[in-house]
Subunit: 334 residues, 3 copies
């Protein structure tokens, strides 16, 4: 949709410097924006692009205002202002509220008439789907699932039995919630499966990326708290707990019974051991491994960045003997 | 279902100390169990919770019996006893044995009348599905697939053509078995696809977690032996071999033509190189990388655990120059 | 299909030494091939198996010809010759060009009459599907998607709205293209979703492995260039760019706005940081982490291979203090 800058200023709380009647139809990058488009400068790395932008308006901070060649929306949080404006200009598509004739619905379901059930959805028995929720094509929703209001399942998602999903949730394609956790007991060298009796409780305002998986609890529930954001291909083990407003980037492996506090940020491709506790406000940078509990907020890392292959080969030989080498050196030094 | 303790003692082989007529309806944790529930103590870490449990019965070892405030089932393998009792109290849901009218079945299929084909399943030609097997909603089963007895495909699973699945198998949602392996030949800087002519042979009593993938062989089959347990988001490359009763935790990458022996345990988020051999009874701890063959049973590791980000930054600079630094030190010491 | 060696020599460009009329029905390994089968020797590691092969013909290099006990196809690129011959003997199955009555098609779609739409496919509005393309069962194709000619979507794939797929593409089951990128802005400790307005542009001759995910751009498109080959469970973040003929092995995580050049090879389970640039002809070996841009072609690595668990425990204690230990040693040495 379109909006004038006065409207966008109001929506975002940013101060308008320029023409309040200027019409904006779209967002774009500093480089590519043209007439009718708004852009933003939040990363100082791109500051030199500001002078040449052909956008009709730029969201920026006070410091950059002097270099702005066009209308400006000024804020000390330009990226947040951008987020608000983009959400305003690109509202989520409304659905019509109907059950497609090609959907298969079980018995004793309670589906609000304002919700949309798409083609080739299969819904089990005793399922509750609340108002304004959208279930996209190919989703499978097993018995006794409960889904809140205004929630979106894009397509090809599987919710296993008894899973509970909150309001304003977005699940992307390929997500699987409530599959059995990896619970096994050993007997004479063979594995005996442990029934996974718990479920998954996924709070409000949660987003889960494509092909991510959240296992049901062994006993008791796996819990994803309100406001948690999960990227693609994340694996969350049984009985894990993820605290409010924690963000988990792509390809993270979170083992069973791990406890993650509030407002944590887990970088992509990191792994978190099971049965450990990470306190609130912890940042784990990408490709890190967390083996033990973290009791102090802060930034933690363990990724090993690449070097030239020949140097790496020599370094890892040293690393394999690191303790012995250091012992030897220490001994000689004494 | 419910059972009395005498029955659970018999089912599990554990010695009953207490009231044989006590009725058990459910399992629960030491902390949360209440009347009518059974719990277990297998991890000494939680021993102090035993005294306060409100469970009607506790599965525990001889050493803990003296502190048990209620009925006890005594065993030197309490977790295994728990597994047996939980399986008894929570039997797998029986299905009705019918082909849903919304399923699409190809030609010349041989589907046992005791098997269940759910809504929106698509089955190709020449498919065999044996007795008591359950195919959940949204599964796609391509031509010439053979599935054994008493096997469960939960939902939204894809079995590619000619794949062979054993008896008593459980496949969780999003599993893909038999996609083409990553076989490419180079020609003038471009890639030419190698047809993947083999298939996948998945044995009896195998479980595969949500969104895991097992590629078909380039020539000959990828083989998953009897009793193998695979967690979520595991990738198994073409022509890999996984030996009997090996367990592979979540997010493991097993490259093509890797050979894993029997009774191995591969920790979560680990990677195994292609064309290597891991002998029987090897344990790889989580987040490890296996580059070369392992010929001796034992425990192997390579994960780097997180440190404070500032310390990490200094350490990795040293690590990048580790060989040179050590050479310099050695030189000075001589 | 079958072919005589004269034909296979012509198809592949390899020089025939032996009987041009010999009939070949199949390919197989050196060990397992028997009469009527062709095999290849491209890895010197297996040279000793040549003498005993029972194949009717072997593809090999000039050096190995003297040891060949049967007909030979001689080339300095035996694996490439194998690829050409296997593609000739195992042509991709032709489909009949029809829309299954169980498919659901939206409005204003333009589906070429030579294309095949399988059962339980759901297609949105304004979708274009060009000639000879195959859409397998369970695929969901959202509004405004465009798919080129001779492209294959095996099964259970999701293409989100406005995604554009080229010619001669193969997408394996569980692939998700065009899900929202992980774009979030912070406000008072909560996350505000950034609309993902861009799309995905996937070129010609691209292959994407099972359960891989390619996110749509935040602004502008995520771009996968012609000839790119992507293995299973790869995650490609929003606005990433992958250059022509680059190959990405399984379980790689490619973060948002990463730029990968042409003809790169990214080893399995590696991770590439966002907002960095990797130049053309870079090889990243498996399990490596790329934190910064790479400006020089070459081979780069950072994987840490496993050692015995007891040695590892001692080494990582040293590693956690590496900088301090080295400082201490240096100080003593001065």
């Amino acid at each position: 949709m379109s909006a004038i800058l006065a409207e966008l200023s109001k929506v975002s709380g940013a101060r308008l410097v320029g023409d309040p009647e200027c019409v904006i139809n779209a967002v774009n990058t500093l480089d590519l924006a043209s007439t009718g488009e708004i852009t933003f400068l939040s990363n100082r790395h791109y500051a030199n692009r500001l002078l040449k932008t052909k956008a009709s308006a730029v969201i920026l901070s006070e410091n950059d205002l002097k270099n702005c060649p066009t209308n400006a929306l000024v804020s000390n949080a330009p990226y947040l202002v951008y987020a608000k404006i983009a959400n305003y200009l690109y509202p989520i598509k409304q659905h019509h509220g109907a059950i497609n004739e090609k959907a298969v619905i079980g018995q004793k379901c309670n589906i609000d008439h304002t919700s949309t059930i798409s083609a080739n959805v299969v819904i089990g028995d005793n399922v509750t789907i609340n108002a304004e929720t959208y279930i996209g094509p190919g989703c499978v929703i097993a018995d006794n699932v409960c889904i809140g209001e205004n929630t979106i399942l894009i397509a090809n998602i599987t919710l296993c039995h008894d899973v509970c999903i909150g309001n304003n949730v977005i699940l992307h394609p390929g997500v699987v919630i409530g599959a059995d956790g990896f619970g096994l007991a050993q007997e004479n060298g063979e594995w005996l499966k442990i029934p996974q009796i718990g479920s998954v409780n996924l709070g409000n305002n949660v987003e889960v990326g494509a092909n991510s998986t959240i296992d049901r609890g062994a006993i008791g529930n796996t819990i994803i708290s309100n406001g948690v954001k999960i990227d693609n291909q994340v694996q969350i083990g049984h009985n894990a707990f993820v605290g409010e407003n924690t963000a988990i980037a792509g390809c993270v492996a979170l083992a069973g019974s791990a406890y993650i506090g509030k407002r944590c940020q887990i970088g992509g491709a990191s792994s978190i051991n099971g049965h450990i506790e990470i306190t609130d406000d912890v940042i784990i940078t990408g490709m890190s491994g967390v083996a033990n509990s973290i009791k102090t907020p802060g930034v933690y890392s363990s990724a090993i960045p690449v070097t030239d292959n020949k140097i790496w080969k020599r370094n890892i030989i040293r690393f394999k003997n690191l303790d012995q080498i250091i012992k030897k050196i220490m001994f000689k030094l004494e």
